[in-house]
Symmetry: D2
């Protein structure tokens, strides 16, 4: 229960942070897709630790071994399974966590639920699981790319440092900084904030904006599988994600007369004059850009001493060893893009299924 | 596709705003539950139009006819089906909508998806569908109430009028105004804003806060069926909902050292000293209060003239007749509570299933 | 749990034999299908009691009220809900069953499972539920018919009277008897056996053969959703069905060298010279006729006195009143065809979904 | 689509016969189960080739590598993933199959469905996939064994040689022959038939009987997830399985007055005097033994020359090289037991979920 995402394009993942391997099985990938190994490699590299001073020192090769579903460079329509070995684990770093619950981690709630937990590196609750999402997302991207659909996630806030609100996305600028932020000046301030937090053994929360271009009208299902509901579930399933808003989101300053998106004709095609709807109306895409914002809490693993309790209910002070980032960004960006791609491809295949 | 919610406690709904009836089927309701018809009636009354000057003049009896799954006042474990007749429809009010797409409604996206649409009152995309959710939510509440779990949703913002940020919830105050807002002064200002908007043929967006007390530690599944992911999907499936945040949500001003919830011992029980986690850690409840915020856009149906296009792609001006509220609140409050109850009961039953 | 069938074309049914109504919700029916009310009526008439001396005296009108999902004579792609009122119930006939478990009925196992049961007419376990399947099957047939797919079920055995094994199906002959048996002489003997059984207050088992023509190659999914697995589940879900075999089935007299279906070219098209595979290879249709056999046990409701026990565990003798058939045939024939149609349409839509 | 079985205890498998590995992911296994590696090993050994003269010469080690979901010898409630390397593949044996469709294999139907196929050893349609089922079945058995539930499958027919119909199962006798047949004399004749078929480059069909003892009353869901429907789907998903019957099955010689299972009191417990119901009434177990019969067609791979066509539609004669058994038995026996165990554990967990 709970380890599968999607209706037709379905990802099932497995694995603990410090077990032999993590991995996943993709069922429902269309047959005949030419596998773009470079696309997969690039996505994995972006998620992997060790690219910059901001990210963890655990340098995993993250070699993806593809086990099935591919024949002579093309998908066959059968399940695509893959594993990623956990070859740089230092489980002894976690020995002191066997008897203690780390604050704002899943240790306590997992123990309550299962009566047993793999305490090493968070076990199943580790963000390492997101590597499997990136693999599946890469396959989804291979299909979506052929439909001229692009997905771009970028940083808009780190702690109290926000991007200038009216920044227009410019990939040249975003590509120039590790946070993929289109506001170069803000990116610099964000990086400094992260450097300071890391030095202080602390961590920071962040915001992400994601924009999807090229989705045709008609994707998403009425009522419970509205496109925004599936996207929200996808995003809130990412570790540390605390909020999702799409289109105008939490900004309710405009009345309906101004918030409504008037339909108009542009180049002979029905468009909307504004896009407060975020590309989705009634749960179904309307052909405009789909965009949403996400909030991520500060990473719970910090090296400052913290008050907590032991598994026996004794107060104690915990100082976590190990290697940790000061923020889920930038590593969460490819995860956001992967979950977006998976959700959209699933919506596309669902839409295909219902037309006779 | 898309008309079923839940894994074990499953609600499937049907019906268009102006068809013969709407309704639903609840599968997976535990057997032996004493049916509390008053609880059901009260929930339906809160959602129904016509209770106050703020809500629509369409006064539907909303008589729920229970068709199955109940024997001598108790649930039998078999599907509970129900219908609600659409007996106060004035379809002729909608004749002018056959040839035109209403801005920020589902008209255009449904047409693109299905090639056919019931234009009367929004058809399947009408918020009238939420009445079926309230019925199912009432059954979920009957089970949860016996477990001493309470769910309370209330208004915190209407347009630009927000509740005082540090307001402590006081049901006596909240019960004193139709918006169920615990800040009496703000409630008054909100009501005035709504009255003005209605007079101007306009509409306003809103925020809702929902708090759940009494959920034990251990509900929710790892990874993709995290409790917050299921709640987010539930909420974003409600018409007009544009955003979801739980716990600290989009507020990322605190660093990890302050945002982390230290564990402590209180009355011999493991608790957290703060609750930025919103009662959920690693996707699983930790025994603290679960709380979240929602954003709702202004209702798209306004009586001011709007620019739009016909189904043939001709620009036109639309003036919508019919009966409409100026805001989804307060009528959306019982819907939020219903979807919360459905999600939590489903999580409870999922948790039961995995213990041998 | 358990009241929904299908993956994309999904039927959820509800209702007890003696409650207010039974019915169902079809989700995933393609949009734009012209509703053929005559097709629906004919299928319902075939399943309904009272057509001949062989079937029950409970003459229900079985009026199907369609509540949603249809607009101006066409399906809209939204759920099609329907109810059938239980308007000829004589619940007092069942008063003596409240305290006793009927042999080979679901009374005891339901009681063990739920701790509560609606004893009137079998409650949820009544074959009356199959009326809802016939409604959904009619919608599936409307789609399949346009693809030139035909489904025909007929009687091949009643008790110890079997059809001549080499009978070629001839609809003119089959249409000439109520059992729809293509062997006129056997049909006569079967009818006599049923008449005798009914007179003796007894019942008989039966076999059904079903043949599907026109399914193209490619329907069905590998491994767990093999076409034969979905068909078997569909058939074994019909009350009283005890066995399913397809193609050569339980006849294993031929060795592989004779049982294998050699491929050949016929009119420029790849065909098989024989069809021991029953039109399915590796779980996927191969373009040949799909055919299977079913076994149905004698109806458990007989009017002879039977030994049984009360709910309190006291031995007792039961004599069942009420109106019962002597065999599930011929009334089960349209149910078999309906479940076949539902399964095939679902397989078709699943196949569509996976092609990008 | 199609590669997952089960509702709560869910198995997803992957892998082709001649790819790098096959394997699976078990989601929903209860936490805290002590892993019995010997039980797993024994089940794998029974399914593996090379145990006797009757089975294939492909001697695979079938080393199961467990990748996740186990911590210090116990299940953790998180997904249990495993892989089995394909380390003894001789793909060159299959080069001549790239251009030709093998009779009664999945080659043609897969090609029609996907437009691409891995021709080596049947690819995804290979019975090698069943090794993954045996792994999952072993975990299910670990849970069921603690509930004193036993599952036993044995051979009752090979080709035209059947077990004496009134044979009482005696494990001492069954353990004495590789076919696990409780009729020693018949087992000898069956073995000879298989030896002759193998020598002739031919293959034979077979029947299996499976009996389950110890299932309490109450497992199985009404209507579409009846226990027999889930078992039938499980069995028909096994390669080469052509038929399923439970209880009295296709034998309809008895009228209802004799076929009904009278309830009686035995040792203070409600029992049935006979068991034509096969332990299931109304889709729900009634506490008696559950038993069913299966038919398996002759293995399609034979070494005699066969008429077939090339992928280009040219008639050709095929002589299959490679290593093949003459019958799916005895290797299919542990697969039948595994699928039975998976289905029953799933039914148990579903039953637990619906009680509040």
């Amino acid at each position: 229960m709970g380890n599968t995402f999607g209706h037709i394009f379905r990802l099932t993942t497995f694995g603990e942070s410090h077990g032999p391997a993590i991995g996943g099985v993709i069922d429902g990938c269309p047959a005949g897709v030419a596998v773009d190994y470079d696309l997969l490699r690039r996505a994995m590299d972006r998620r992997r630790g060790g690219q910059s001073a901001l990210t963890t020192a655990r340098r995993e090769a993250d070699e993806v071994e593809l086990l099935s579903g591919i024949f002579e460079g093309r998908t066959t329509g059968t399940p695509i399974a893959f594993i990623i070995r956990n070859d740089n684990t230092r489980s002894e770093d976690y020995d002191n966590l066997r008897q203690v619950y780390r604050p704002s981690h899943a240790d306590y709630s997992y123990s309550c639920k299962y009566g047993i937990r793999d305490h090493r590196g968070g076990g199943r609750s580790s963000a390492r699981e997101t590597a499997a999402r990136v693999v599946a997302g890469a396959f989804a991207q291979m299909v979506l790319r052929d439909k001229h659909i692009s997905i771009e996630a970028f940083t808009t806030r780190i702690g109290s440092v926000g991007m200038a609100p009216d920044t227009v996305f410019d990939s040249a600028v975003a590509d120039g900084n590790v946070l993929h932020c289109p506001d170069a000046k803000a990116a610099q301030a964000m990086t400094e904030a992260l450097t300071q937090a890391k030095a202080a053994g602390d961590s920071l929360g962040a915001w992400v904006h994601c924009i999807v271009k090229g989705v045709p009208a008609g994707w998403g299902e009425p009522v419970y599988d509205k496109l925004q509901a599936m996207l929200a579930a996808a995003m809130l399933s990412i570790p540390a994600c605390k909020g999702f808003e799409y289109g105008s989101g939490f900004d309710v300053s405009l009345p309906g007369s101004q918030a409504n998106d008037a339909f108009c004709i542009e180049n002979g095609r029905i468009r909307t004059a504004s896009n407060h709807s975020g590309g989705i109306q009634g749960g179904i895409s309307n052909g405009e850009d789909i965009y949403f914002n996400l909030a991520f809490k500060p990473i719970a693993s910090i090296s400052q001493p913290q008050q907590t309790v032991t598994v026996d209910g004794q107060p104690t002070t915990l100082q976590v060893k190990g290697r940790h980032d000061a923020c889920v960004l930038p590593r969460a960006l490819p995860v956001v893009e992967a979950m977006t791609a998976i959700t959209l491809l699933d919506a596309y295949l669902m839409d295909k299924a219902i037309h006779s």
